[in-house]
Symmetry: C2
Subunit: 357 residues, 2 copies
Amino acid sequence: MQEIRYGGKMARVTLQTIADRLGVSRATVSYAFSRPDQLSDDLRRRILQVADELGYAGPNAAARSLRLGRAGAVGLLFSETLAYAFADPYALGFFQGLATAAEEAGVGLLILPLPRGGTRTPPVLDAVVDAFCVVSLPDGHPALAEVLSRRLPVVVVDEPYVPGHPFLGIDEPAAGARAARHLIELGHRRIGVAMVGLHGDGRTGWADPARQRGAVFEAMRGRRSGYEAACVSAGVDWASVPFYELARNSRAAGREAGHALLGRTPRPTAILANTDVLALGILDAAADLGLDVPGDLSVVGFSDSAAEEAGLTTIRQAKQEIGAAAGRLLLEPPDEPERLLFPHELIVRASTAPPRP
Amino acid sequence: MQEIRYGGKMARVTLQTIADRLGVSRATVSYAFSRPDQLSDDLRRRILQVADELGYAGPNAAARSLRLGRAGAVGLLFSETLAYAFADPYALGFFQGLATAAEEAGVGLLILPLPRGGTRTPPVLDAVVDAFCVVSLPDGHPALAEVLSRRLPVVVVDEPYVPGHPFLGIDEPAAGARAARHLIELGHRRIGVAMVGLHGDGRTGWADPARQRGAVFEAMRGRRSGYEAACVSAGVDWASVPFYELARNSRAAGREAGHALLGRTPRPTAILANTDVLALGILDAAADLGLDVPGDLSVVGFSDSAAEEAGLTTIRQAKQEIGAAAGRLLLEPPDEPERLLFPHELIVRASTAPPRP
DNA sequence: CCCTCCTTCTTAATCCATTAAGACCTTAAT
DNA sequence: ATTAAGGTCTTAATGGATTAAGAAGGAGGG
């Protein structure tokens, strides 16, 4: 807690300073701020006036938090940089839900930077919060261990599932399968896949099944296994399904994946993308190549976060509701931690159709 | 700070608990966590092991913050609900910049709910932070007084200007005038104005000059006065300029304003909107009416936050840089508070042209 | 053997506030 | 006059940790 000094040096003003000035006890001064009814109006007025004269900054927040055992804030830990998070429609939807819940409860939302080598202090260990919300952390991320070591209520969203703590997300394998089955049912058999967020190593390019299954992000692993299961049960050989992995979730990345996938022979008649943003990039690539969507190519996105205007078929998940539910669980931790799977829904729009005969 | 109880009751574990268990002093245990070099390896190992066995949650964050006089977080106060902020492109750009600066410094960003009647605890007074960033608060908002009472470093962005504290924003009157002058220079004289964020009273509809000047948001007041100054100096009678005020910054609101303004006789040949989102709505309204933009109608937005794809002429302001600069000032408060006005720039796109003869 | 220097740990002050319970005084009722 | 009841303020315990300075013990040098 830094202090502003006006001109010369100035000892910090505390309740005691004021008490000494007036010859009353510290408790009395405290009551003047927190329990007006415990004091005579006259004394209270004098106390507040002296406080003002001395430049008292009000009861110290850290001291109150220590004494009261309450922080009035919940911590949020997100896998990506915030610059990224604030640009990702899915994350924003979730934040909206969470922030609204926090707002209604009158508690703050402390957005924490991921612990990094260079930082002077470990943000998670020093966070003055009543609970943590962990969103989309890869398997084995050290920040998760730090969070758990604090022994505060923890809610995990999307990944990774931590036994003993509430979990919120969707049934990823089922949702992935739903997306893939949609293409299968339309008659597609030459399907390509573009996925972002499998590994944290920044690789972009073709990924074989072994690498696919080794993804460190649990939710994406599940989503992919849903893709695979639906394909396999339709008789598609998964090993032959071209699978392009991206490091960044951007339209440009999607376009790159689109060019890679559409450059294959035989050309896929449909592409599964694990985010809407990626799917939009794939539509760009299709446009580059003069392909008609959905005539020559069907595309399915994920999340329904940026899909509507583009007429993209996608899986809708209740971002805001998940955020709001996370907020509620943080504020009133349940006795029995539950694994809550929210509904998802296939939204069919104009980007998918049967393949041309 | 809530505590998780596994099964039965369990006294809270503190440094002292561990110290007692091992027959060492509390200080020793503290060193085991914060200064490994002060202890023999053997004792340190034993301490950490006992800590683990007892389920110690690590040094209490509030207590550390109190003792160290450092919170490791900066508070952010924003005029709108967060659900709104997370949907507003301008706010998001600013957040990105701020969050990135915070992230690089390894400090948290505590997003505070605005104090409301119903809340149990005053969020601003209880916020454990080292500094506050206040963004776009209306004149006389009580939260600002609370922030100032904390006597921590404060940085204000956009509004309101608080003497003695750093201020970041743009030269609003100049930027407003630049936008209006663009239309004037193209030859427009029948200009309409649509503005959001003047008052906090939720009113939508025509606003006369008195109400315009009574706006409680300083930045918007300045922007508007720039509009007026440019018009007046071109000989346009401001009292006759139709001025439509909106309560919400949304595309739908813009459309409403567009219909209101374009329904006037004589119809304006150009409209100034004080946000891009509003401007997009006005384009919608023009499309509804079958008007050609920019043939029948020119539209100028503001902020360059959602303008590019739509080909909207707008004033660009460096959202992210302002956010990043705010972050730096929060982390290293300057001796002399400065009023920093960032550059703005007119970006001419396809939504403006000379009026038809 | 004595002195010095380390290493390792302890002492004790400090950070700032909250609040139950008790003390004291005044007023009102019986 | 006596007692009860309020009103107003104080006492003292409490929340959990950090760190400068001091003490005790062992190792090395002369």
